[in-house]
């Protein structure tokens, strides 16, 4: 189908469903969308798994575009309109106007009451507007129940739903009848896609010879099989799980070692495949995940407590790490959950891969994170073992909870407007609460209270925004393929966002945490305790971006900074962290969300929102990047890796839903001093470290890559909660990464 025909059909399907239920509309739209977006199997692919981003479509978060649920890609539309100067162009223009009004993002904005609209005047344009907080539009962090999918197959799953549907019919539960019947229909759509792929594979097989013929035949068999039957081989299990992930619009691939480990062991034992063939499958899947190019997503989780069969899972995990060594891509974001007593071979393989500079696997420490998640989410430790990081590192409970990060708060900007009595000097607009100017506060404590009040104001708004966003999205589409593989939805006969799951939560991304803490400390120490800088003078200096105030700036820069294991400043940082996290965490009751938690995740927004933040009291210049997540501000950690790690572990992990910890180590340390590097990480984890995202470079690599990008095309770096090819990043993001201390 050509784009024009597709756009028309999809839009008609939507329009014609005006009087129908959201479930039926979703089904009708997907019936148009599926055949269009699934691309043919590539010649070198061992699985069907290619997808394109449509001009208009229905996903929880569009691939590579903006929006949520019903969304459109303006750029693609405009290009098509330009290419079709005739009647088609005019028609497309009319359709574009239709979606400009009808897209879900717009509907969310329209639903805002005055106070939310006032506090959040902009949508998700944090990279080009000056504001303290922004809403984000998406439903992400979807981890499907692959165990259930693989144990039942599509046919089996359909049977489960049918059974529940029969009961709903008997009970006269019309809501459940609607939800479950269209869930079955969407499963049938999925089966059709598999069948169509099977036909492609069969016709390819007929034309191919030798090894290729075998590959196409295997694909054809697998696709026929999984369209209804229960998968029995590794190939079938991998095909079904990855294919379903795409169809449902999820970007995460779950505890893969756990759900595929058994298939691997069986296939190896029965001789269906060799270990090399298994590795080839995994590498092919890795390439397909990378091909999808979801940037911040593509999580594959291995390791950790709570797996059904550690032995078979570890065997898969080893092959997964091996694949990440060979396939040097920025996705999948391979993540290893580590714990005391884990398989040493897996830990060592992980260090080998990290030492290659792959940034993968990222390490998450179960021993700390499980109790922390239990507390933060208010769930049992047993359930907390199912925590998984998605996207940039936010935690959810595997196929039981959602916690889409749908708000951003720039804490340093909040400080900036607070010391100016609720005024944004950059845009010249009133912003936030007007609580007085810095000089109006007689003590540091009274000022700190005002700042906390400001943050509290935005937190409450953002939490309500998130709950409202879910509500609007739920009315637009029930996401039935997702609901089918989330706990309780089938039993309750209710979709995922409408009360189908027990743990519908939200998260808020905080930025500038560390710059704010350092600024607070400088204000406390230099303005209030020692009185060497007057409040008026400080604000003037910040307004002037320190021009003419060089001596004052030096005093600010010389004040102790977080990241050096200095108790007084780290203590204030920890107190501030506690406040911010608890403030968010307290929003669950008023919003009706099961949890609402801070995520200190960081993508590259620390650089982007920094560009709209004036000079700050930590000595940071106007528009410079903010520190990455909870890591020390670039270059301010001068006391060695142990001091830096000691500072990190002072931040309470049990009150938020994840905090990424990016670190840069030299190749020499991780290769020539492997014992010490291992000891360093181990101790950090024993001391309470939650995560480690490890960049490994040679000294000078980044500087050289900025000078001669053509020679460093393969240099992969961990930006924040995602990895990227260094040379493709914007200059300011490159500079921020360069500024971080290399140990």
């Amino acid at each position: 189908m050509q784009p024009y025909e597709y756009i028309k059909s999809f839009t008609d399907a939507y329009r014609n469903a005006e009087d129908l239920s959201a479930a039926e509309r979703e089904y009708r739209c997907l019936a148009v969308q599926f055949p269009y977006v699934f691309d043919p199997i590539g010649d070198d692919d061992l699985f069907a798994g290619k997808l394109k981003a449509p001009e208009v479509g229905l996903w929880p978060e569009p691939l590579g575009g903006r929006g949520v649920c019903f969304h459109y890609d303006e750029k693609k539309f405009l290009r098509l309109i330009e290419e079709n100067a005739d009647g088609k162009g005019r028609e497309l223009q009319a359709i574009l106007s239709f979606w400009e009004k009808e897209n879900t993002r717009k509907k969310i904005r329209e639903a805002y009451p005055a106070d939310i609209a006032g506090a959040l005047p902009y949508d998700d344009v944090y990279y080009k507007e000056s504001c303290v907080a922004f809403p984000l539009y998406r439903v992400v962090g979807i981890y499907l129940d692959y165990e259930k999918l693989l144990a039942n197959g599509i046919g089996g799953l359909d049977g489960v739903i049918a059974g529940r549907l029969a009961k709903a019919e008997t009970d006269g539960d019309s809501g459940a009848v609607l939800t479950l019947s269209f869930m079955r229909k969407e499963l049938a759509l999925f089966a059709e896609v598999c069948e169509r792929y099977a036909s492609q594979a069969e016709s390819m097989a007929a034309r191919a010879a030798g090894k290729r013929k075998k590959k196409w035949e295997r694909l054809a068999r697998t696709l026929r099989k999984i369209s209804s039957g229960k998968p029995e081989t590794l190939h079938e299990a991998m095909q079904l799980s990855s294919r379903y992930t795409l169809a449902a619009g999820s970007y995460n691939y779950g505890r893969m070692d756990d759900y595929l480990g058994g298939f691997l062991a069986r296939d190896l034992e029965s001789g269906v495949i060799s270990k090399d063939e298994a590795s080839e499958y995994i590498r092919s899947l890795w390439r397909l995940i990378a091909y999808r190019d979801s940037v911040f997503h593509g999580r594959v989780i291995i390791g950790g407590k709570g797996r059904r069969n550690e032995k078979t899972a570890d065997a898969f995990a080893l092959l997964a790490i091996e694949a990440s060594k060979t396939v040097a891509e920025t996705e999948p974001q391979l993540t290893l959950r580590v714990y005391e007593g884990m398989n040493e071979a897996v830990a060592e393989a992980a260090l080998d891969c990290i030492a290659l500079g792959r940034t993968y696997p990222m390490l998450l420490n179960d021993d700390v994170n499980i109790p922390a998640v239990a507390n933060a989410f208010r769930v049992s430790e047993e359930l907390a073992r199912e925590y998984l990081p998605f996207g940039c590192g936010e935690y959810v409970l595997n196929h039981q909870s959602l916690g889409s990060p749908n708000g951003i708060i720039n804490l340093l900007k909040a400080l900036e407007v607070t010391i100016r009595n609720g005024f944004d000097a950059l845009s010249g607009k009133k912003m936030g609460l007007a609580l007085g100017r810095l000089e109006d506060f007689p003590t540091f404590e009274s000022f700190y209270e005002a700042y906390k009040k400001q943050i509290g104001y935005y937190m409450e708004i953002l939490a309500r925004q998130e709950a409202l966003e879910y509500e609007v999205v739920a009315k637009q589409a029930p996401f039935l393929l997702i609901s089918a593989l989330f706990d309780d939805c089938i039993e309750r006969g209710v979709p995922v966002l409408s009360g189908g799951i027990r743990y519908l939560g939200g998260t808020v991304e905080t930025y500038g945490n560390v710059n704010s803490a350092n600024s607070l400390f400088a204000i406390k120490s230099l303005v209030y305790d020692k009185k060497v800088i007057s409040p008026e003078e400080l604000v003037k200096a910040l307004d002037a971006n320190f021009e003419g105030y060089e001596a004052l700036r030096q005093k600010l820069l010389a004040a102790p900074k977080y990241g050096n294991d200095i108790d007084e400043v780290d203590g204030l940082a920890a107190d501030f962290h506690q406040f911010v996290c608890e403030k968010a965490r307290a929003q669950n009751e008023a919003t009706g969300l099961h949890s609402y938690l801070v995520v200190v995740i960081n993508n590259q927004a620390n650089t982007q929102v920094g560009a709209y933040t004036l000079a700050s009291a930590d000595g940071r210049g106007a528009y410079d990047a903010l520190a990455n997540a909870n890591s020390p501000a670039g270059g301010t950690d001068t006391q060695g890796a142990t001091a830096m790690l000691n500072s990190l572990v002072k931040m309470d992990p049990s009150i938020h839903a994840g905090s990424v910890q990016n670190m840069k180590f030299s190749k020499t340390l991780v290769t020539e001093h492997r014992d010490l590097f291992r000891a360093l990480l181990r101790t950090y984890f024993k001391q309470g470290g939650t995560q480690a995202m490890i960049n490994v470079f040679n000294r000078g690599d980044l500087e050289n890559a900025m000078r001669e990008p053509e020679k460093y095309g393969n240099l992969i770096v961990r930006v924040g909660g995602f990895s990227a090819r260094f040379v493709t990043l914007p200059k300011d993001v490159q500079t921020e990464i360069l500024s971080r201390t290399l140990y």
Binding site: D565, G640, D675, L676, A679, L680, T683
Partner: protein
């Protein structure tokens, strides 16, 4: 007990086993021309062109700082190293550091240039887990020319320490044009044969990171422009001091 440091460096991985904190004590009897810590030469706190070198600190404060990383030492087999300058120049301070470190169950290293009173070194070594003993130049005259002192006392001290049963690792800075010749490497090897109970000999290749500090201190750096040796050269040096029975 207070003393003078010019640096206290955490996460050190080159001065003794494991992850360590190194306290650099100010003051040195030698004047090695290649020294990368020229601010260690003078014993007192110095002020040059408005910049201060060195600070007074109590033994308790030093050990308290070192204890912050105790968990890292335990996991890596590390501890605390007292280096310099020549730490024996502040003998009483060093002894109280060592005592305090031991009371807190920290593994201790002392790095010495060997040019100190023999009795003092022996007393220090009795409180120390591992001595890092610098061995720079084998020919006495050349030694005097490059460091300001002959090496006789140094060699006698090495013998005395060895015979007292101290655990010793030999630390050999190799400076291109000064001691990167076979004669010196053979001398190192001979020492290892002479004292077979030594735990090893480490090659410490020249690096020019000290050059800017000489300038800051208003001193002339005699090795200006000397390049750091490449990896291949360093590996060759390492090969040359290897003995059959002791791995590096």
């Amino acid at each position: 007990m207070k003393g003078i440091l010019f640096n206290l460096q955490r996460f050190s991985i080159h001065d003794g086993p494991g992850i360590r904190t190194v306290a650099f004590l100010k003051g040195c009897p030698l004047r090695c021309g290649w020294c990368h810590n020229p601010e260690s030469f003078k014993r007192g706190v110095q002020s040059v062109n408005g910049k201060t070198f060195g600070y007074e600190i109590s033994a308790g404060e030093v050990v308290a700082e070192a204890l912050r990383d105790k968990a890292y030492y335990e996991e890596s087999g590390g501890g605390v190293t007292f280096s310099g300058g020549e730490p024996a120049l502040q003998k009483d301070f060093l002894l109280s550091l060592l005592t305090l470190a031991k009371e807190n169950n920290l593994h201790t290293c002392v790095e010495t240039c060997g040019f100190a009173e023999t009795e003092a070194l022996l007393e220090i070594s009795r409180q120390t887990d591992l001595i890092l003993f610098d061995y720079k130049i084998s020919d006495p005259e050349t030694h005097k020319r490059h460091t300001g002192q002959p090496n006789g006392l140094i060699l006698r001290n090495l013998k005395a320490l060895y015979e007292s049963g101290s655990k010793i690792i030999l630390r050999c800075p190799v400076i291109p044009g000064v001691n990167d010749h076979d004669g010196h490497f053979s001398a190192v090897k001979n020492l290892r044969r002479q004292y077979p109970g030594m735990l090893g000999a480490e090659i410490m290749p020249y690096h020019n990171m000290g050059e800017s500090k000489w300038k800051e201190l208003g001193l002339d750096y005699g090795f200006a422009g000397l390049k750091n040796p490449d990896e291949k050269t360093v590996n060759e040096w390492k090969e040359k001091v290897k003995t059959r029975d002791a791995a590096l």
